[in-house]
């Protein structure tokens, strides 16, 4: 209902169409009237434009004494435009007639935009309780092999319809929600003359998003860069596509990226789902994989990979997935993203064709289940290789585990990471854990950081996310992301089979997190990536031991030998870990090394691990082990702390022979907090 022409009362007609009670006979009559009026208006408006232009020009020029020659020159220029107007009018009339007569298949070539602001508001108010259990969790129970997971995912997708019908989740509202949040509901669609104009329009729109505080400059550059890349591969894959179709798909993708980036700031799920994850992470890695495959991939393969990556997490934006503590619904996000694509089937077929629509839909649905199959051939009729597409898109998503490609914007600031450290340190040194009261105190500190955000819109989102989404899971996940740095991913041949080689660096922060909070946290990002490729669990223990040995050994030969052993491979993947202990970023490394300087946690945990490793202990062994502790913590303790620690040490030594008493004394050591630590955690 966006037509503004006053000659036609189509608003009245179309409003009638919205009424479900209305009989199709009435609609049919209205269609007849509407089509006739549109055709008449096209004829009259084009005629008026053509005749009016030359007439007005002549009279204006004559009025100021223009010569005949000049009038002819201008008329010729105007007639060129008039020819274009007449051609456009003829084509438009023909298209209307074809649609009316049913000769041309009518596709809704725009993303659905059928929801009112009130309906959107209602969807945003749906609570996690209304959603219930996660379908993904339920249907994947017991699934182990990839085939089992793929089948389970199809069943989960089928089951989603019940929740959709009940109105709890409405993925077809994503299009309207996107226009709503990006303030585009009233924006008219422009047509463009060439690709240069198209990119200018997209650039201008992205700039308007910056002005409105939806995205920042850095995010805009990333989105615009992807728009340029997408346009090029789309043109290559679909050389016959008209300009407006290109404009529509590239512009919609740019909007989808901006929308996901804006919505992502509302939640602290522990992972970024905006430009960092989609473009800096998945798209960047996918491009590297596509490049390493050379001419084995077609332009269509590239388009499909890009489109799956742009759309795969759209489901995170639906109301119930963003509701407070709505982990079950957000787990089902691939189902929602897929439903969005299916609900916009006409749009996708219009832009990509039916086969590609199916590939995009299936690729999105299965994106969490890693496939590693690069040896199949392209389907020449379809022009793409689904197995390769499926493998690339699922592989890159599984590798989104490290801070530089997955950490949410808010936690890329040292001050925010410092608060995460305080929370983790507090809960690890308190027998009862963190507790709500203490968590609220730390949340206040996070709010103070959010207040410094210059964009009012983003500031509001951060506050909302801290209140509704922040929890201990966010803390562990975010800190865990700082343990590694994703360096490279490419496809190479191994024993005659193409497999991805994934190169990850172990960061400097990894050692500290391991010493302070245990290997589970320190290897979190590596474990998550490897688990998705079904690597055996004992690898993690081996890896932890080797990394620790590499750090401790002074012998260069031994070190080199151990480093070479940090490569783990199986028939679907090669993981190549490099213990360069590289810096993620120097400002963040400072945050981790500051903690190391002030806290005794690493020293105490080292002692506790050493005691735990012993088959049996006696007082002399305990005396030696605790002496090392006393020697290493000296500078980190004041006099009072030192006295307390000496008392605990004496107690541990005297209880060495009694296992139960020893456990109690070691507990005191585990929960010992120095003054510096208390100051750091802001407690008395």
């Amino acid at each position: 209902m966006k037509i503004e022409n006053k000659n036609i009362n189509e608003n009245e007609n179309l409003e009638k169409m919205d009424n479900n009670q209305e009989s199709s006979e009435t609609i049919s009559e209205d269609l007849d009237k509407f089509a006739e009026e549109v055709i008449n208006d096209i004829e009259s408006s084009s005629k008026k434009a053509v005749e009016g232009s030359v007439k007005n020009f002549k009279s204006s020029i004559e009025a100021i004494g223009g010569e005949e020659e000049k009038i002819e020159e201008g008329t010729n220029l105007l007639n060129k435009i008039n020819e274009e107007i007449e051609t456009d009018a003829l084509e438009a009339k023909k298209s209307v007639e074809e649609i009316y007569e049913g000769k041309s298949e009518v596709r809704n070539n725009k993303i659905k935009n059928d929801y009112s602001p009130e309906e959107l508001d209602k969807l945003r108010k749906i609570k996690k309780e209304e959603y219930g259990d996660s379908l993904v969790k339920e249907y994947h129970k017991g699934a182990e092999t990839l085939e089992e997971h793929e089948t389970a995912q199809l069943k989960a997708y089928e089951a989603l319809q019940v929740k959709v019908d009940a109105g709890i989740v409405k993925p077809d509202s994503i299009g309207t929600d996107m226009l709503n949040y990006l303030d585009l509901r009233e924006k008219e669609s422009n047509s463009v003359e060439n690709t240069e104009e198209m990119m200018t329009e997209i650039n201008n729109e992205l700039n308007s998003f910056i002005e409105k505080g939806f995205i920042n400059q850095e995010e805009k550059e990333l989105i615009f860069g992807e728009s340029e890349k997408f346009l090029n591969i789309y043109k290559e894959a679909y050389p016959d596509a008209d300009l407006n179709k290109m404009y529509s798909v590239v512009n919609d993708n740019s909007r989808k990226l901006a929308y996901q980036t804006e919505r992502d700031k509302q939640v602290f799920s522990g992972s970024d789902h905006g430009t960092r994850h989609i473009l800096e992470g998945n798209m960047n890695m996918a491009d590297k994989m596509l490049e390493s495959l050379g001419d084995k991939v077609s332009a269509k393969d590239k388009v499909i990979v890009h489109q799956i990556i742009i759309d795969h997490d759209l489901g995170y934006t639906v109301g119930v997935a963003q509701a407070e503590k709505s982990f079950n619904a957000s787990k089902d996000h691939p189902l929602f993203s897929t439903k969005f694509v299916e609900d916009n089937k006409d749009y996708y077929i219009d832009k990509f064709g039916e086969d590609v629509y199916e590939a995009i839909k299936d690729g999105i649905l299965q994106h969490s289940y890693v496939k590693s199959e690069y040896g199949t051939s392209r389907d020449e009729e379809k022009g793409f290789n689904y197995e390769t597409i499926r493998s690339i898109t699922s592989t890159v998503d599984a590798l989104g585990v490290t801070a530089e490609i997955k950490c949410p914007a808010f936690f890329r600031e040292p001050a925010a990471v410092e608060i995460l450290q305080k929370i983790k340190l507090y809960s690890d040194t308190n027998e009862e854990g963190l507790g709500d009261e203490q968590m609220d105190k730390y949340k206040k500190q996070l709010h103070a950081i959010a207040d410094k955000e210059p964009s009012a819109k983003r500031k509001e989102s951060f506050h909302n996310a801290i209140d509704n989404q922040f929890n201990s899971f966010t803390v562990d996940t975010t800190l865990g992301q700082y343990t590694g740095v994703m360096k490279d991913v490419k496809i190479e041949e191994k024993n005659g089979k193409l497999v991805p080689r994934i190169k990850m660096d172990i960061s400097r922060a990894q050692a500290l997190l391991g010493d302070f909070f245990g290997d589970k946290l320190a290897f979190k990002s590596f474990i998550k990536a490897m688990e998705d490729f079904n690597m055996p669990k004992d690898i993690f223990t081996d890896m932890a031991e080797k990394v620790s040995a590499i750090r401790e050994t002074e012998d260069p030969e031994k070190k080199e030998k151990l480093i070479k052993e940090l490569e783990y491979s199986q028939d679907n993947v090669i993981f190549d870990f490099s213990p360069d202990f590289s810096e993620g970023s120097s400002k963040m490394d400072n945050v981790f090394s500051n903690l190391e300087k002030l806290s005794v946690r690493g020293d105490i945990n080292k002692l506790l691990r050493n005691i735990e490793k012993q088959e049996s202990v006696d007082s002399s062994m305990i005396t030696d082990l605790t002496a090392n502790l006393m020697a290493s913590v000296g500078e980190k303790l004041d006099e009072e702390d030192m006295v307390r620690l000496i008392e605990i040490r004496s107690e541990i030594i005297s209880n060495a022979a009694d296992n139960d008493k020893l456990k109690e004394s070691l507990k005191k050591l585990k929960y010992f907090r120095s003054k510096k630590e208390k100051d750091f955690m802001n407690i008395n």
Binding site: L14, S24, V38, D41, I61, Y100, N108, N109, N244
Partner: protein
Amino acid sequence: MNKKNDLDKKIKGIEEVYDRYLNKLRKLKLEQDEIVVDFIKELESKKIEEYKKSINF
């Protein structure tokens, strides 16, 4: 219901075509206006120059 959907689709389809046509028409009319304005400006400045010359300005 299916017939209603088909008719709805047709109406939307016609609306899209019409929308696109009007947008393009608007743009082309602007281009025409620009041509007219440019010619008028050119003639006017030419006349001013001639007038200046005639009064030895």
